[in-house]
């Protein structure tokens, strides 16, 4: 049974009986197995699990990048299962902000331009400078990605993701390629976005230390949710240790 949220927000994501099977030659991999899930507006969710647990597959389905092989998944009134490529693109464009493990910045654009790029396809974007101020990168506006550190690049990615005022922020191992200190800075930026803008945030990670900063922690194993914990108090990134 899906767990009730204590947050009073409306339901944003709902998944029922979600499954995803990859068939590669003779091998069949069940990446997701009959998974149920509800996420509410404004929540900060950490999806925790070892590699191969299905957390990325789940995030990809929630982000409109992949289709499940069974079950149903909705974002508000958007059906994420039967949608075609154009509908999914529009869904990502209008509602989803992504942060990836490898930042995926456009190497030929400066920090400011990378963020401004999103403004071109959003209806009500932030001023890119404002978005970058939120991640404390106002002094790096004219640098190219190759000229700044990985942590800074990831903060640019966060600024880029929130610049279009998305309804949900999906982060796939945002600190996976970063060291401890810079990882914390990035998490602080994500937490601030969630707190100040109220953006529903889902972070997937295999780093259990990060779980402390979530409203709810969902543990994945073998394509199922095997545990769900609610933190009585969300830790600040500074309080995290790993």
């Amino acid at each position: 049974m899906p767990e009730k949220s204590s947050a009073n927000g409306r339901k944003v994501f709902e998944a029922r009986g979600l499954s995803k099977t990859y068939v590669m030659g003779d091998i069949t991999v069940n990446a997701l197995h009959d998974l149920d899930l509800d996420i509410y507006e404004g929540e900060f969710i950490v999806l925790l699990g070892p590699s191969g647990s299905g957390k990325s597959t789940l995030l990809n389905i929630l982000g409109g990048l992949d289709a499940p092989t069974g079950g149903r998944a909705t974002f508000r009134d958007h059906d994420l299962v039967g949608a075609d490529d154009a509908e999914l693109t529009r869904y990502r464009r209008e509602h989803v902000g992504f942060v990836f493990q490898f930042y995926n910045l456009i190497p030929s654009l400066t920090v400011l331009e990378n963020v401004a790029l999103i403004g071109e396809i959003a209806t009500n974007p932030f001023d890119p400078r404002e978005a970058l101020a939120l991640v404390e990168l106002s002094d790096r506006l004219d640098h190219f990605p190759s000229q700044i550190s990985g942590g800074e690049q990831q903060r640019v990615a966060v600024a880029r993701a929130i610049a279009k005022r998305p309804d949900v922020l999906l982060c796939d191992e945002p600190t996976g390629a970063l060291d401890y200190e810079t990882g914390k800075l990035v998490l602080a930026a994500i937490a601030r976005v969630n707190r100040e803008l109220g953006t529903t945030t889902v972070v997937i990670t295999h780093n259990s230390a990060i779980a402390g900063m979530a409203d709810r922690v969902l543990r994945l194993r073998g394509g199922r949710i095997v545990g769900s914990d609610r933190n009585a108090r969300r830790l600040t990134p500074e309080e995290l240790n790993w």
């Binding site: 209008e94 990836f100 995926n104 331009e113 396809i121 190219f144 796939d172």
Partner: protein
């Protein structure tokens, strides 16, 4: 199969589109090379064979009337191996099915066709026996154009009297491989014939018993033709000799020779363009392949593979591409060569002109392709092979971007992030961008080369037939007539205007150089024949002195103000030194102009004309043609409409075939360049483009980012290509122009537009194919990998 070979097989399968487009480029270069070399060899071999079989002479001379008794004196000139005196006359054929006059050159036979020189090659029927004055042999081109078979009747106006002949046979002659009516450039087979009759027929009609008016000579090997011509001219002068010429100036031979020279030029220019572009694309494509496989190569090296099998592995890839290209190129070259030979058969009449592949051209062409391609990959390979495995196994350092210089020149509001991505990608790989632009620009002259002939011909037609020859008919007289004849012609029904022209055979000498031509006499106020210069301004003939076409002035090495010795080759054969008063740039010919009364003063023959230009009411032109056929005073008639039609008819097929071939090549180049660049661009930027897709950019927005680069490159490549076309057309027109024929380097706006459309369409087709790959980008995979 070794493991590396298996890898090769899979690499080729994975990049099959690139392999095919590059192989097509190699094929195109090879096909042009093989076709032009083999066509040249085929024509040259057949020419040698036919000249040999037909005993084609070395020296040609005309006289007014010389006794046969001097033939032995000609034969005594040292270096002369054989002499053949003949009677040659231009006549009018009464050809009822043709509304327009048919002219013919009638040539005497003394040995039933088996002449010591200019032996005719009988195709059908027989040759009239010596003494048979009623039989005639007709050239094959005329017979085919008029569906004429042995046994048919043929009536010819001989010296004003209608004489009937029977067509006994149909034949070819080395003298008339290119049978063109004097004064025209393109054969008009329907209205121009060569007739061979026994000399008794011409002797009787023209009072030439025991005499001749034309002589051909074969020289002994190593003989000095110049010296012999001089002696011959001295000998023939009392008999009205108009100057002997060497083979080089025999009309059929000259046209054939010029065509062969052009073929040779073609086989040594265009293929290299293709080889160059193919090598460039191979370089880029393989360079990218090697870069992508850099880590694999490094791993192979780290595992202990020596360099040579790795190098051989990649050379095998080149070998596969070139072998595929060579196979297609040889097949295409043979097909093209056959098409060329087929179109030449309309111009050149040989007994046995069959395309033959010159095997060495295929071998050499393939070798050149392979070397060009191998050179292309050497750089890419060397880059990898010199790296230490440990270095090579690390991913390539990311490209460093910076602001493009162009950005500071553009207004701020135009510089959206997407546009900057496009600009910086171009600026970030300047060498590749330049090479792509150059590659695209190479395709443009191909289309232009195929189509500019049309513009050049239109231009020449317009100039020659609307501006220079403004009448619509020209009649020539067998000998100079009193200028009153022009007035008589004016009174013919339908003739609105008639003007006399004077042609005088002259030899022009300046120092050591000399040139045999006709001086053309025109009146200052001539309306129907107005020579023009290259800027198409009418040439005003000064009342005195000589006006020379630039090509003639250059050939004589004279400039305005210089003196030229003018030797009249007929009548009283006067000699005068005349000043060159003007030099004009003309499209056609090596003409020398004089004011008509000044010319007549030079010859001392009073007020005479040799031809008349007529302006005839279009409705009356057919009736006039019929009437002129009956006038004994007229030697030949040329109708402008006719000349234009036959010109277009002859040239249309050749122009169409070459335009189609060259346009096909342009498509191959454009496809090759754009497709390969787009594929490489996509390969390099798949990660970035997929990231944008994940962020919510649509397929078409992402495609636009990639393709805008090509739009820019095409936008830069097209004007460069047009510029290049200008240079190539200028070059080709210079190489293809000869003494008689200046090809104007004119490119019409239609041609430029067609070139642009072909390039853009090819690019769009390439883009469409690559676009489908963009649609299939794996969005999930990019999130898990680092570029």
């Amino acid at each position: 199969m070794s493991l590396l070979d298996r890898k090769l097989y899979r690499d080729i399968k994975a990049m099959s589109g690139q392999v095919v487009t590059i192989a097509l480029l190699v094929a195109a270069g090879l096909a042009v090379f093989i076709a032009s070399v083999s066509t040249y060899d085929t024509l040259e071999a057949e020419r040698i064979r036919f000249y040999d079989e037909g005993r084609f002479p070395d020296v040609f001379a005309s006289v007014k009337r010389a006794p046969l008794t001097i033939v032995s004196r000609i034969a005594e000139i040292p270096g002369v191996a054989a002499v053949e005196p003949r009677i040659v006359r231009d006549v009018i054929v009464d050809w009822p099915s043709s509304a327009l006059p048919v002219s013919a050159r009638m040539v005497s036979l003394a040995n039933g066709g088996d002449e010591p020189l200019n032996r005719i090659h009988l195709r059908r029927g027989a040759v009239p026996r010596p003494g048979d004055a009623r039989g005639a042999v007709v050239n094959e081109a005329f017979a085919e154009a008029n569906i004429l078979s042995p046994g048919a009747d043929l009536r010819v106006i001989l010296n004003g009297r209608l004489e009937a002949f029977t067509v006994d046979g149909i034949a070819l002659s080395p003298e008339y491989v290119y049978a063109v009516k004097p004064g025209l450039l393109i054969p008009d087979d329907r209205h121009y014939a060569v007739l061979w009759v026994d000399r008794t027929a011409l002797e009787a009609a023209f009072g030439m018993e025991g005499a001749f008016n034309d002589v051909v000579i074969r020289l002994a090997p190593g003989a000095n033709s110049r010296q012999i011509i001089e002696e011959l001219d001295t000998l023939l002068e009392p008999y009205g000799g108009v100057g002997a010429v060497a083979r080089r100036d025999q009309p059929s031979h000259r046209f054939l020779d010029d065509e062969l020279t052009q073929l040779k030029v073609m086989s040594t220019t265009i293929p290299y363009l293709f080889f160059g572009v193919a090598a460039f694309l191979l370089n880029v494509a393989l360079g990218r392949l090697v870069t992508v496989q850099r880590e694999q190569i490094a791993a192979l090296k780290a595992l202990g593979f020596p360099a040579s099998p790795i190098v051989i592995h990649y050379l095998k890839l080149v070998g596969v591409v070139v072998a595929l290209g060579a196979a297609l190129g040889i097949v295409g070259g043979v097909a093209m060569g056959r098409a060329l030979i087929l179109s030449y058969q309309g111009f050149f009449r040989f007994p046995d002109l069959v395309f033959e592949l010159s095997p060495w051209s295929a071998v050499i062409g393939t070798a050149i392709s392979f070397v060009a391609a191998a050179l292309g990959v050497v750089t890419a390979l060397r880059n990898v092979m010199t790296l230490a495995p440990a270095v090579a196994m690390r991913p390539v350092a990311p490209m460093r971007f910076r602001r493009a210089a162009l950005e500071s020149l553009l207004p701020r509001r135009l510089l959206t992030p997407r546009r900057m991505m496009i600009l910086r990608n171009l600026a970030g790989r300047p060498v590749r961008a330049v090479l792509t632009i150059v590659g695209i620009s190479f395709a443009v002259p191909m289309v232009v080369l195929g189509l500019f002939w049309r513009d050049a011909i239109d231009h020449m037609m317009d100039v020659q037939f609307n501006l220079v020859e403004r009448g619509n008919a020209t009649v020539t007289f067998p000998h100079p007539l009193d200028a009153n004849v022009v007035g008589d012609l004016t009174r013919e029904p339908g003739v609105m205007l008639a003007e006399g022209l004077r042609y005088v055979p002259v030899r022009l000498r300046a120092g050591q150089r000399s040139y045999l031509t006709s001086a053309i006499g025109l009146s200052v106020d001539a309306q129907l024949r107005r020579p023009r210069d290259l800027s198409l301004k009418p040439i005003e003939l000064p009342p005195k002195g000589l006006t020379l076409a630039r090509s003639l002035a250059e050939s004589l090495g004279v400039a305005t103000g210089d003196l030229v010795a003018v030797e009249v080759m007929e009548g009283r054969r006067r000699k005068r030194d005349l000043e060159v008063v003007a030099i004009v740039d003309e499209i056609l010919g090596m003409s020398a102009y004089m004011e008509i009364s000044a010319l007549n003063q030079l010859t001392g023959e009073g007020n005479v004309v040799s031809a008349a230009a007529l302006l005839v009411e279009p409705a009356a032109i057919l009736a006039l043609g019929k009437r002129l056929k009956e006038l004994p005073l007229i030697e030949s008639v040329t109708m402008k409409a006719n000349a234009i039609a036959s010109f277009l008819d002859k040239i249309a097929g050749l122009v169409l075939v070459s335009a189609a071939i060259l346009t096909g090549f342009a498509v191959i180049i454009a496809l090759g360049v754009v497709y390969n660049s787009a594929r490489i661009g996509l390969q390099e930027r798949a990660w970035e483009l997929a990231s944008l897709r994940v962020l919510g950019f649509t397929r078409s927005e992402v495609s636009t980012i990639l393709f805008s680069e090509f739009v820019l490159e095409i936008a830069l490549g097209l004007p460069l290509g047009l510029l290049l076309s200008r240079l190539v057309v200028d070059l080709i027109s210079r190489l293809h122009s000869n003494e008689t024929f200046q090809i104007p380097a004119v490119i019409g706006p239609r041609t430029f537009a067609a070139a642009a459309v072909v390039i853009v369409a090819s690019a769009a087709a390439s883009a469409y194919v690559v676009r489908r790959r963009i649609d299939r980008l794996d969005l999930v995979a990019v999130l898990k990998t680092r570029d």
